[in-house]
Amino acid sequence: MSNLSIFDIAGPIMVGPSSSHTAGACKIGQFARALFHDTPKKVTFYLHGSFGEVYKGHATDLALLAGVMKLKTSDPNIKNAFEIADQRHIQYKFIPKDLGEKYHPNTVEVILEDGKNKMSVIGSSIGGGMIEIVKIDEFDVYLQGSAGKHLSLVVCHQKNPKIMAELIKKINKLGIRIAETVESSFKDERLTVLSLEGRRITLPEVIDLEMNTEGVDFIRSLSKLQTQ
């Protein structure tokens, strides 16, 4: 069972018109951007279900793109997301697509590219501005975009169990506890989501862990994401 915040219900504070199609979409964009880490040069959005049917009227397209550019759900500039993306030379495309039965009707697959790297993030907007990230590249995951709870670290690494053990030791040394680890594997790679407790991990700490732990491909911290 989930652990929702009162402010998931009494919120988010947002620019209209739709909590699921505008605010939730913006949050999925923010998550995708945080997972990709850099500003992408090109973003493609595959819109599934109701997202694909009515995205124009609800400004879902503007909101998704705004989220990828780190705008908040309450930012009046969401309206101008296309112009802002053009100024920043970010290419964008929206394509309605059936992603399959198993996905929530408000789901989008975001493909982010910057010439060197490419990442796919699938997220669903489950109502009232709440979201879930359910797939990152080939890995099935479950990340909740709930108010005030983004202490997670997403780690992509080789399958060898020693790698995670070492990383966890290092994180503990920083005085941060690990509340939960969830793993997902594909071929010989593994994606682990660590839910942290205590304080937020800082960006230099994340970079240090990423650079100096062998077998780790990348680490992304979601702690900077919008908390309401």
Binding site: I6, S20, G127
Partner: protein, 301 residues
């Protein structure tokens, strides 16, 4: 498990009885425990939320601007003017004002103004409509109004956990229906009703909305959404009056929530926010679709 954790009405009522607290007070402590912030910090956050809602109401009741497609705009203002002509109205001041406030929020939302999605953007008018208008009537202190908002949030959380707040999953019962049930409880708490009375009010309110289609014209959160919010205030106030008068819901709220989930499961996707059924495919609905460059959907009769 945290001391104030709850997922269902049953758990919430047990906490209220054990600690001799109202639903709103339990909700506040739940959030404080969950977030690690003090109760007063949590209360302050709710104050900010309230301020954004007030701002949307204030702007909305004075605006006469039409939305892009010209479907909505200016009705909140009309209802606000009606407050000066009360002898012509059948409802009382509380209800007319509530309807005008609810419309104000809906109209602001439709024009990409700032609102609070409480519980969702589409259903965001009912709670400020009912709670603000009633608070003005009793001259309720800030604390009471905030407690009403916390109580409404707790009811929303129970709906989110037991069923859904997504119209794409459950239709309009999950948006306006949920908003009405939440407002009914919040108002009942503000009037000094017991926690049990609050849930009777929500149960009676939600029962009236089970199965409501989500069928917005052109997929825009405008028609029928805004007027549904407005009229939803009447149901919320009525349900609260019934509960205060001692009327009980025959079916407990938790069971009503499960009924909502069951209906969501068997509801056609055509009336779940896809604009493929109901009002969205009427002659008028299709005209709007055409204007938006969407495919026309023949009405299946």
């Amino acid at each position: 498990m945290n001391q104030f954790e709850f997922h269902t009405t049953e758990e919430m009522l047990a906490l209220c009885h054990k600690h001799k607290l109202s639903i709103g007070e339990v909700a506040k402590r739940y959030e404080s425990e969950r977030s690690g912030k003090s109760v007063s910090a949590v209360r302050n956050k709710m104050k900010q939320t309230r301020d954004v809602m007030y701002e949307a109401v204030r702007k909305g009741i004075h605006s006469t601007q039409k939305s892009k497609m010209g479907m909505v705009g200016g009705d909140a203002h009309k209802m606000h003017l009606a407050l000066k002509k009360m002898p012509e109205m059948m409802g009382n001041k509380v209800t007319v004002r509530a309807m005008s406030y609810a419309m104000a929020v809906g109209e602001q939302n439709a024009s990409m103004g700032r609102i609070v999605a409480f519980p969702t953007a589409g259903g965001a008018g009912v709670i400020p409509g009912v709670l603000f208008s009633s608070a003005e009537h009793f001259k309720a202190g800030k604390r009471k109004l905030l407690n009403g908002m916390f109580c409404s949030s707790a009811v929303g959380l129970i709906i989110a956990e037991g069923a859904t707040l997504s119209a794409a999953k459950g239709g309009c019962q999950a948006e306006v229906g949920a908003g009405v049930a939440m407002a009914a409880a919040g108002l009942t708490e503000m009037r000094g009703g017991t926690p049990d009375q609050c849930f009777h009010a929500s149960a009676m309110a939600l029962k009236s909305y089970l199965g409501l289609a989500c069928d917005p014209l052109g997929g825009l959160v405008e028609v029928p959404c805004i007027k549904r919010n407005s009229l939803g205030c009447m149901v919320a106030i009525g349900a609260s009056d019934m509960a205060i008068a001692g009327v009980k819901s025959f079916i407990p709220f938790d069971e009503v929530v499960l009924a909502m989930r069951n209906i969501a499961k068997i509801m056609s996707p055509k009336i779940r926010e896809t604009a493929l059924g109901g009002l969205a495919v009427t002659k008028t609905g299709n005209m709007i679709k055409q204007k938006l460059g969407m495919k026309i959907t023949p009405m299946d009769l």
